[in-house]
């Protein structure tokens, strides 16, 4: 999988799916429409919604994506332009939805050392994270094995198609 480089947008602990993608937009089925509401439920997210650019990196702390099973959360973040999500830890359904939709995720215990606006270089496959702004290197826990194969294929459905359903 490609290496990524981009500016960090920083979020806190326990950002749940209602903050990532407020429930009132759940009836939406258009992915471009969903992307307009990424992180909208987070206090002060106006700056993110206005400023996020393709290639940016989202950094959060513990238990990112807790709560609902809504895949909208992963779809909206990816659609907003985010290439990689780094967090101290992820909630399980969100993490799974990211793999299934091929949105790269990395678990980084030192995520709190990254500040908003820092420029990061990320190798999703081996877990190398380089904070160019602070000149600091980290080793994140990368997605591995089957999950990485699914991500590399472009998500769960492309993976299964590739395998002809023989898994």
């Amino acid at each position: 999988m490609a290496k990524f480089s981009g500016r960090a947008w920083k979020f806190g602990d326990d950002i749940d799916t209602d903050q990532i993608y407020p429930g009132k937009y759940l009836p939406l089925t258009d992915k471009a429409e969903m992307a307009k509401h990424a992180m909208e439920g987070v206090e002060g997210s106006e700056k993110f919604l206005k400023g996020v650019k393709k290639g940016d990196i989202l950094v959060a702390l513990k238990n990112f994506g807790s709560g609902s099973s809504r895949e909208h959360a992963a779809i909206a973040i990816k659609g907003a332009g985010i290439d990689v999500v780094i967090a101290k830890s992820f909630a399980r359904i969100f993490y799974r939805n990211c793999i299934n939709t091929a949105l790269p995720v990395l678990e980084l215990p030192e995520a709190d050392e990254i500040e908003e606006g820092d420029v990061l270089e990320v190798d999703v496959e081996n877990g190398d994270v380089f904070n160019k702004t602070k000149n600091k290197r980290y080793k994140a826990k990368p997605v591995s094995g089957l999950e990485m194969e699914i991500m590399k294929a472009g998500g769960l459905i492309p993976y299964l198609k590739l395998k002809g359903g023989n898994v």
Binding site: D14, D16, D18, Q19, P22, G23, K24, L26, P27, L28, T29, G41, E43, K62, N63, S66, G67, S68, S69, R70, E71, H72, A74, S89, F90, A91, R92, I93, R96, N97, N100, T101, G145, L146, E147, I150, G155, L156, I157, L160, K161, G165, V167
Partner: protein, 417 residues
């Protein structure tokens, strides 16, 4: 080394003799479900990827409408229309606007068996662990992929055992137990773990209580919460499914990553304060806080026993002036029993609003949204910021605490009514 419940289910479902925590497996899915939330996204994704190809097995697909019943907005109506059309094309079961909360409907209609692997677009699917089924909430891609291939990937979770002992005091119920567990374990305390409950408190807990307990495994970030079905619960499953089912339990020498013991003998009524389900205090610590609305219902506390617990307190009483009390039975079966046994009249006499069964005030799409600064006590399972209206504050409690609070107009320990 023996196997935990999750290891047994995933071994059988993936055609392996044995699997262990950490293994990746492809498991055959016994039931794939979606709702009017997530469902339309699944239909779209499935159609984009597979066109008009039939699903792998229409008899293993169920669609449960449980949010916008009946729809009040055009988009909701269109979403349900897309699901209905899909159900017809694929020969899937459809539970329409007169049904209720999805997981409860699946169980009531005999679609849930021990050993089953079940998925659905609902993060509280895992409450079906009380029937010995491995049920999980998943995103739309998982459901669409399963519709095509009938199997899904899993990382076999480690298992934690929660031993709960003690006799629950009057006005203390399963909700207080799980809130007490949340207070100790925290919302990230069991990320991707399977939980197995046992102990004297669990042995005595009825089905409704077990559902309450297992439903909130989601809030400690667990994958599934199992309670090995008792003889009574196996009989109930057999009755619902119309056949004899095979029980399930863990092996005596199964491997647990962690064992935690909880003593609930002297547990007082508990309440989760804004804005996290683990911000739990004794009700008496926050008693007196004025409330604007009370909601009794949801997949966590919408069973008949929950309705009965509320009715016992509400009988002959009225809701405090200025407080809205909304009571929503989880399914039509529960609602009918509420009417037949006179609970409905008790609720109406008390001044409650009793809409038709649905997930109700677990999402913002249902009537009963909060205005900024308003406070709600809810028997639901989440109190995240903005969940039922921006600026609203949500406290989570048992039906007993919720009913007592509605009567007094302020957060109230039911022992003080």
């Amino acid at each position: 080394m023996g196997a935990t419940i999750i290891e047994k289910i995933l071994a059988r479902a993936s055609g392996k003799k044995k699997v262990s925590a950490g293994d990746r497996v492809w498991a055959n899915v016994d039931l794939a479900t979606m709702r009017d939330f997530g469902g339309p996204n699944v239909v779209q994704e499935y159609k984009n990827a597979f066109g008009n190809k039939k699903v792998w097995d229409g008899s293993k697909v169920a669609i449960t409408f449980d949010l916008h019943l009946p729809p009040k907005e055009e988009k909701h109506a269109q979403n349900q229309q897309a699901c209905r059309k899909f159900a017809k094309e694929m020969g899937a079961k459809l539970f329409d606007v007169n049904s209720g909360v999805g997981q409860h409907i699946l169980y009531e209609h005999g679609l849930v068996h021990p050993w089953d692997v079940i998925i659905g677009t609902d993060s509280h699917m895992n409450l079906l662990g009380v029937f010995g089924a491995f049920a999980t909430g998943v995103g739309s891609t998982d459901v669409a992929a399963t519709f095509a291939y009938g199997k899904l990937w899993y990382k076999v979770p480690e298992t934690h055992k929660y031993i709960v002992n003690g006799k629950l005091q009057k006005y203390t119920s399963a909700k207080d137990v799980i809130l007490h567990i949340l207070k100790n374990v925290k919302t990230d305390g069991a990320i991707y773990k399977a939980i197995e409950f046992e102990g004297s408190t669990i042995d005595k807990m009825n089905l409704a209580g077990r559902i309450t307990l297992a439903s909130m495994i989601t809030e400690i970030s667990g994958k599934i919460g199992f309670i090995a079905p008792s003889k009574e619960i196996m009989d109930e499953i057999d009755r619902r499914t119309g056949k004899k089912n095979e029980p399930i339990s863990a092996d005596k020498d199964a491997n647990y990553e962690k064992v935690i013991e909880f003593d609930v003998d002297k547990l007082e009524p508990q309440i989760a304060c804004p804005h996290s389900p683990d911000n739990v205090k004794a009700v008496r610590e926050v008693a007196g806080r004025p409330v604007d609305q009370v909601f009794i219902g949801s997949c966590t506390n919408g069973r008949y026993d929950d309705m009965e617990a509320a009715a016992k307190l509400l009988k002959g009483k009225t809701v405090a002036p200025g407080v809205r009390l909304i009571i929503v039975p989880s399914t039509m079966e529960v609602a009918k029993k509420v009417v037949e046994n006179g609970l409905h009249k008790i609720f109406l006499d008390a001044g409650a609003v009793v809409p038709n069964p649905s997930c109700a005030l677990c999402t913002i799409g249902h009537p009963g949204v909060l205005a900024p600064g308003e406070v709600m006590v809810s028997t639901s399972n989440r109190n995240f910021p903005g969940k039922i209206g921006k600026g609203g504050e949500i406290y989570l409690s048992s039906p007993e605490v919720a009913a007592a609070t509605a009567i007094k107009g302020k957060i109230t320990d039911p022992r003080d009514v």
